[in-house]
């Protein structure tokens, strides 16, 4: 059977989740390897998901007042070194340019691993007065981090992302921006990608190099590991002081502005795959699926079938739905399996008998449900089903998150729960980095975040037993 022929190429996720993941990335034609380790090729189907994410997130950014810019990709070493914590974190994974043509450069330049330093250099030029604030900039670009290990979408040496960089007159405004952008990310993950998130603050150990505070959204993958899906940083005025960025306040005092940065990357696509995928392949959230409905003609050689299918395509297109028809000579069974693997949210089947009855079949990718639908209503039903697929995917993922979030009172309990179930383990934490390190060493879990607005478990640190007032999430992370 054609279907089995195609699907057997994907390893079952229960057998080997990592291999299943790699298979999906390759077979669904999301990505290809290049000749440089860790540098991947985003193929049309994978890149189209990113374009969809970009388009929608960009609109949300602009609603908050952010403007897009583009900064150079190279950073002089002396510029990178201006903020001490920042350079310590990033210098070990920079790729360095030492020659321009045949000439050795006087100073070496790194390819941006992130662009705080470049933005600060520019902010110094364009911020003079309180009237110049806030500055809310964003750029879509790629960055380079010379990692030792790599996996498609999750860890690349070069990856695509956006980085927002903003400057504000007061710490309060900057903090509000940090929180606002975390909310933009969280809403986007839940409402567009159908990925439920846990919002919270990173510990000092896990925060961004040079930041005063890092906020994060953490998602749970199908294998119950954690994925950090987006971060928003509050810098205080640390970089402003290091780069000597000042403005004349309303009272005509020289003051340092307060800074944030925030980013998400193509890692989100890895999150989509591992949150929603199954043993038949990808399952794409309808709002970012490059193809939302695939039309499969049944007995397409029979008179009138292709014409009827094409008419359906035109109608769905007009209704603003991303639709594709597969008129190739493959069997319908092969096509069913192919577009299941590619995660297309809805399949529309249409054959001679359907045409006679003025109906078609819709099949949902997320749960396999089929329904007969009158041809008079396909636009409205397709839109409704796409919304249901989104809801179904979100609820399934939410259940995975809820079912596998556990409370523990001691390190031993936390360790046992993680070994038995995976998932997120909630405990109290005293705030001491030594306890955080001990949890990592003994239970193999890193801290994920200190969640916002959740009720406490108790009042003793699960590691040292001392008084504790912080709830913290632990997990095994990608």
């Amino acid at each position: 059977m054609a279907k089995e022929k195609k699907v057997e190429q994907i390893t079952d996720m229960e057998v080997d989740f990592a291999q299943w993941y790699t298979d999906v990335c390759k077979k669904a034609e999301l990505i290809d390897y290049s000749s440089i380790k860790g540098m991947f090729i985003y193929r049309p189907y994978g890149y189209a998901i990113w374009e969809s994410i970009q388009r929608q997130l960009d609109a949300e950014f602009k609603k908050t007042g952010a403007e897009n810019v583009y900064m150079p990709m190279l950073i002089p070493e002396s510029l990178l070194q201006k903020e001490k914590d920042h350079v310590e974190g990033f210098a070990p994974e920079c790729a360095w340019v030492t020659y321009g043509g045949s000439e050795k450069l006087e100073e070496r330049y790194c390819i941006r691993p992130t662009s705080e330093t470049l933005f600060c250099e520019h902010f110094r030029n364009v911020i003079q007065s309180h009237r110049d604030l806030p500055k809310m900039y964003n750029q879509w670009c790629s960055v380079l981090r010379w990692e030792k290990t790599s996996r498609p979408f999750l860890r690349h040496r070069e990856f695509l992302w956006q980085e927002g960089h903003t400057m504000h007159a007061t710490a309060e405004e900057a903090m509000a921006e940090t929180e606002q952008m975390l909310k933009v990310y969280a809403d986007f993950c839940e409402n567009v990608l159908a990925m439920p998130v846990t919002k919270g603050k990173k510990t000092d150990k896990e925060k961004f190099n040079g930041a005063e505070a890092t906020y994060t959204i953490e998602c749970m993958m199908h294998d119950r590991k954690a994925l950090q899906a987006g971060t928003s940083h509050f810098f205080g005025d640390g970089f402003a002081r290091a780069f000597d960025i000042t403005f004349a306040s309303k009272e005509n005092q020289r003051a340092y502005p307060f800074q944030t940065s925030w980013g998400v990357s193509t890692r989100l696509i890895g999150g989509i795959i591992m949150t929603h995928g199954d043993n038949n392949g990808l399952v794409l959230p309808p709002k970012v699926a490059p193809i939302q409905v695939v039309v499969i003609p049944v007995a397409q050689h029979k008179e009138g079938v292709l014409e009827a299918c094409r008419a359906v395509v035109e109608r769905l297109k007009k209704a603003g739905i991303r639709v594709k028809i597969d008129e190739s000579e493959q069997s319908p069974g092969w096509k069913f399996a192919e577009y299941e693997m590619k995660g297309v949210p809805l399949r529309l089947e249409l054959g001679p008998k359907d045409i006679e009855k003025n109906q078609c079949v819709f099949a949902r990718r997320d749960n396999g449900e089929k329904s007969f639908v009158s041809l008079d209503e396909i636009e409205a039903v397709a839109a409704e089903l796409l919304e249901k697929v989104h809801q179904g995917m979100f609820e399934k993922a939410k259940k995975n998150l809820t079912d596998h979030t556990y409370d523990a009172e001691t390190l031993e309990e936390a360790k046992r729960l993680q070994q038995e179930n995976g998932g997120f383990i909630r405990t109290m934490w005293c705030g001491d980095e030594a306890c955080e390190i001990k949890m990592k060493e003994e239970a193999g879990m890193s801290s994920r975040c200190m969640p916002f607005g959740e009720l406490p478990i108790g009042n003793k640190c699960a590691v040292c037993g001392k008084d504790a007032d912080k709830v913290i999430y632990w997990g095994v992370a990608y």
Copy 2:
């Protein structure tokens, strides 16, 4: 007067065109300098023009069947060297990465100056059968060329562009694609950017490194110099052979596919500035202007003025027009000059007297024409005036091109015409590179293109006097 205060910062173009250009780039806040020579910062207003170009061109590319992808930014030296002509052209201006973190790389990598080699490496993986053809890919990215000199938008070490790369089963199909994409560029320049173009073929001396043929669109700037605004290349099967890319034909024969590439860059923004700008600053084509209509309240402290202006803004927004209101405390005169400098195509003035009469004033940026318009009709009139501004700009630029394109029969005549008038000089050419070099050395002009479908001037080469059947354009180029 506020207006004069602002405008005096821009050098008159008749006094010093190069300084006028730099002034406009800086004062209109299109660009800023970074600490690395030749690497520029695209500021929000400049980047927004590029986003507008991207959005519209991308839609045109997709109509032709092209799909977007993203390739790595680094090219191993051994990969770059696979096509001899190509590497000879580009190696001297590559920036080289030699260290990853603290480790010296075994092989050095260049930051892509263009990506033919990367695409070919990938095509080798994904093209096996005639069913895999055509492959029509495009990517939006930045590239790096270590140039000695630089100017905003016209010559950057790093610049933003798009590069299309396609593979076809036959030479005819590839040639048709080369021509089709040149037409896409030409139509875009004329219909969207209001920049008339001359289409033609480059001489062998001026063609792209490694191409069999390069097609070009050449535009004439306000100073009558030439700007190469976009190119489309036909590669034959040269790269396919060098990279061993083959496919099984319908007859099941192993065959080499035929290749094209095509690109435009942020250089187009330089073209917009120098085609349309005047001594008051930028003049932006309405279809890419980040702000199409600026609303300036007159006597804004008077009751009802701001409210009326805001209502106008909402109505224009709803009509799909990009509109901005300036409610700052600057004088109307200052605001007039500011948005003139920024090239906003239409200004809408609204004050207490206008409100009484249920009217407003529209002022066109391209020719200064003012008209009184009933407030009941602002949406329709704004759309109509934007179209007229586009037409007016195109016709003015077209007149500049037509008035300053001259025919010459000898090198001496060509030289004299160029010295007296600038512009494009049309002559006959025998096809000998020696004549092309002589024209450059003696008249300071490079060949721009051999135009498509224009009538001949005569039958003797303007340089050597021998028989000639090619019409050729000469000019002084950016």
